[in-house]
Symmetry: D2
């Protein structure tokens, strides 16, 4: 089959070769289910070490929407809701998974996909000083994504601010790391895994978009905080019977610090594409430091581009322009990127 | 690592070689997500053909508890519950996943894991003739598993009876086929995929326990009945981003009728073990026609057996005996089975 | 006890004398429960007649939040959400009752508490033309209130537009009539009970704020649409055991068209107060045609006013001003209103 | 209207005269809503005093199913279920209200409506010693009713046993007191309000069936245990806007110990009827010490009885007999009871 080059998303391919090899090697091994096997235990220990928290609870789940639904349900009481940016994945593209477990998503304005700590604080201050606040959903957690849905990053200082605010108002802080490898590989990033472990109540390390075939690793730094998380996972239909499949993938991703480097090709590619876009004369909607690229395209050029490249529609810009998104990934080669740039040049002229 | 032989369950291994090979071949292919790719479409068509229903809706999910929760939620209105045997997987071992989406599991007595059609009918007759029935959960679906949690089988005549009863009282009939390949391979089985498609509102074809790495294929014969099933799947966190991983597995399982044969080694092995147990002098709790074997063991023998074989605890039988379960699977070899029988002999003497 | 005059809300008092009298008369009568008694049947028939729909289903519930939660749950499938103005009661002041039954509230901008039909249509058009809409909560109903939380009114033409849009996109239209009596008594209102019955899938006639001790009457014009609504009510804990208490109240409210007139004293009072505010020199935030009055008060005057009158805080206007709300009700007398106006004069000077 | 005498249930009438009088007196009083008024505060204090717990949280709700749903939701984490007798009201006659908030009802055998402490303990011991217990719903609370649905009573010693078991396994103990006044008035009862406050995590004092027009009073002895119960009540649609209506009723019920005596007429009546049944020659299904009477009637007599008396169907006994239930209430007079006995005599002959 002759295929167009595909920059539509970062989950179009299978898995990193190390993972495929290990899946092959272990295929006929018979192990106990549900993550109780020794490969899962090895993977957990590697992650604990990478996060610098010896006793962290680490659980493996299959996908991102699932992980968000499980963890937010686990972190909240039934009368609580979760604060998110209006562009947060849980608000927009999870088909109401949070509400389906009974919790409201409380939205605040987004700033290139980010919550502003001061706006979170203002909201909480106003909320709890409202004489009738007990008639409303009590905010119980803050949800952010790192990188955000716009590819932007929180700084460690911003995370620290959110942590302080959460402490002040007794909220949990939860980070969706679906694309975390691309944050870790970005030049401007100053938030390490250890910082996430220090500053959050729970976060997840994305596998699906970051070199795994599928899978996400949840980290709960203070494991005493969430009782019976295993049962919550099972109740959400999120417990993989052959848990070792996830163990294998994260064991490989955290062997020799692979996860710290796996996002680099994507970020290098994205930076190169962003520079080429400037040089060619494209307008970028904004520039993010990770693996997503947003271009304001003249509508007349869209079909021409679509003949050669799979890309993502982002939003209508104005009557004659559209914002499109290109996403690079861990598996992109120099040749692919050069080919894309050549097409972008040809389309522009 | 030197491992004990493992007959603890039928989900201890990876995937059938055809599947592993195809995953290897397609690994770096970039495809669209969420099951919209051509491999998924091919798999869907193979399944539709095997079921004899050209327009069936076929959806791929990751695991069994998840599939049950999604489908029962999709089949019920919010005021309805689902009838199940008191030993049904949804009642016992799914951590309340059905209740978590708001639905009661209404239990009826089990008979080696099966519901008796006449008992279902009696329940429904009594229910709807109760003057106060509207104060109670309205039964909206019947859940059965084929084979059951006890490895037993419904006959086509029994399924037809359940269908008639469901029609009479306007209930949906749903079949959990987590181990369906072992039913299809059993000598006494007379329920074909076509019969399931003709007699049920929805059923799933189990992959995880039947040769896939993971995954279950839901079949909704009359696709007009369930609107927006895709969104329900997404809402439950059950939509796999790289949907093609599931497509690949079911495309292989339904190529050249592999699924119809894949359970045979397990059933042959189980039959051989059951015969050997009789010959050696073990008492079987009951004999099922599929891949599960239930032995009433003297407690004094359990440790001896455990040194050589991983088995499953089923239930306490009396003060001095325990029921254990052995499960064979699609990947068992003659050598493994002979080795197990040798151990069973040695333990008994 | 010497009390301040109370204009804080329209549910500060008990019930209209006719209701109290009937409760007294019937107190020791023994009747069947759950609304199956003849008084409830009489009330249902009076309401059906007033709405011009002979076969409407009419159910009595206890309070507004409860009624909204029950009806929206009944109108939606599990994968659907409900559209509401960002100021809608279900979005803000119901503690997440809608989400607790699994449904997202999808908010659109408010215009003095109202949804604009064209904005609803634009939202639905964009939604269903989004290639990924099945990843999002499917809109299944539109929630509006008449009068709105701001005391404003939809015209019959606007309701007709919303009806048409709902038909086009297969949504239900639901109207929260917590204060419906004050709409029916307003000069500018052109939406009759018959129009509500013709244009909506369900609406409720508010009792609690409109002369009843408590209670709301749900009207489902096409009763075939909602099966087992009784069971849904019971499941929400919303079925009053002594249903006749509600029947008595609505039987009285719909005897001799009382409900059509019961809001008049409140509207007359509110109009008089609004005129007085203009004359005294107060700034009104906006003027609504029903029983709510919104004043932009200098903060320095608030304490002075609070000494004499219970009023409601609405929102901060700017650093030195606050919007307060006064609500009149069915029980206000000319003397009370004159006394309030005298205080408002005194405070202003 | 000429009415049959009505012994079908204990919620057929309005309210005790003291309550009706107070509702009349206070009708046009304007008070703040949602239970923040001074009458509610007075009622709360009377209840705290009667229970001997100065700082108990007391909340007023409208009905029993609602109260059970709210409190069980408040007491459980999302992964937990509630243990109940198979005849418990929450299991049978609440239309799935517990499951609708996501929680499984875990049923154990009933013994005339009661749980046996030793069976609860055995269940918990087995549960937590099951290696796979985390795949199942974790029991988080025990639900009992006092009196039970069969009119039977727990002794203080039995309650103490349940308390000890709950402490051992970290479960909450919750008591449904829908008919509590009839327990308090029964000769054999040794469980005081103070004992309930000492031994439970929460219980409710039934009003609807015990002399109130409607309403139940929840008592949480250790108020620190349940945070934001008010919001949970609101979220369930269970917060009465005119909260004072409930305050008035419980203020009257706990003035001069009325509630301690209000059940007496019912128990006296029931005892007299039970004695008469024996004398006449009726077979009683069993005899309970409170206000419910269960008779095994020949089917041929049912119509004859139905001409004179409203009674409740309980269950089919055998082909030719039916168990019926008669319930007495706080409002029964000696004349009514004598009239009933006369009819029972006439029917029997």
């Amino acid at each position: 089959m002759d295929r167009k080059m595909n920059f539509a998303s970062d989950y179009t391919k299978g898995a990193h070769p190390n993972i495929i090899n290990r899946l092959n090697e272990t295929n006929m091994l018979a192990t106990v289910g549900y993550g109780a096997d020794e490969i899962c235990e090895s993977a957990r220990n590697r992650i604990r070490k990478a996060c610098g928290v010896e006793n962290a609870e680490v659980e493996f789940l299959v996908g991102g929407t699932q992980t968000n639904a499980v963890m937010i349900d686990a972190l909240l009481q039934s009368y609580q809701g979760v604060i998110a940016a209006e562009t947060g994945h849980i608000e927009v593209h999870e088909a109401g998974a949070i509400e389906a477990s009974g919790h409201k998503v409380i939205t605040l304005p987004q700033h290139l996909g980010k919550l502003l700590p001061e706006e979170v604080e203002k909201y909480l201050e106003d909320f709890f000083s409202d004489a009738n606040y007990e008639h409303m959903v009590i905010p119980g957690a803050v949800y952010i994504s790192q990188p955000t849905e716009y590819g932007t990053l929180y700084s460690e200082a911003e995370l620290q601010s959110l942590r302080n605010i959460c402490d002040k108002y007794d909220l949990a802080l939860y980070v969706d790391g679906a694309r975390l490898a691309y944050a870790l590989a970005a030049d401007e990033n100053d938030v390490s895994l250890q910082a996430l472990a220090r500053l959050t109540d729970a976060f997840y390390i994305g596998g699906t978009k970051c070199g795994a075939m599928f899978g996400e690793a949840v980290v709960v730094p203070n494991s005493a905080k969430l009782k019976h998380l295993f049962t919550t996972i099972k109740q959400h239909g999120a417990l993989l019977a052959k848990g070792r499949l996830l163990g294998i993938q994260f064991d490989e991703l955290f062997k020799d610090d692979l996860y710290m480097k796996i996002g680099e090709p994507a970020v290098v590619a994205a930076n190169k594409i962003r520079q080429a876009l400037d040089e060619i004369g494209y307008r970028q909607y904004f520039t993010a430091p990770t693996n997503q690229i947003f271009i304001i395209m003249e509508n007349s050029l869209l079909d021409k581009l679509a003949k050669e490249v799979e890309y993502g529609f982002w939003e209508k810009y104005d009557e004659s322009h559209t914002v499109i998104r290109l996403a690079t990934d861990w598996g992109n080669t120099k040749d692919e990127v050069d080919a894309l740039i050549a097409v972008l040049k040809a389309v522009h002229n």
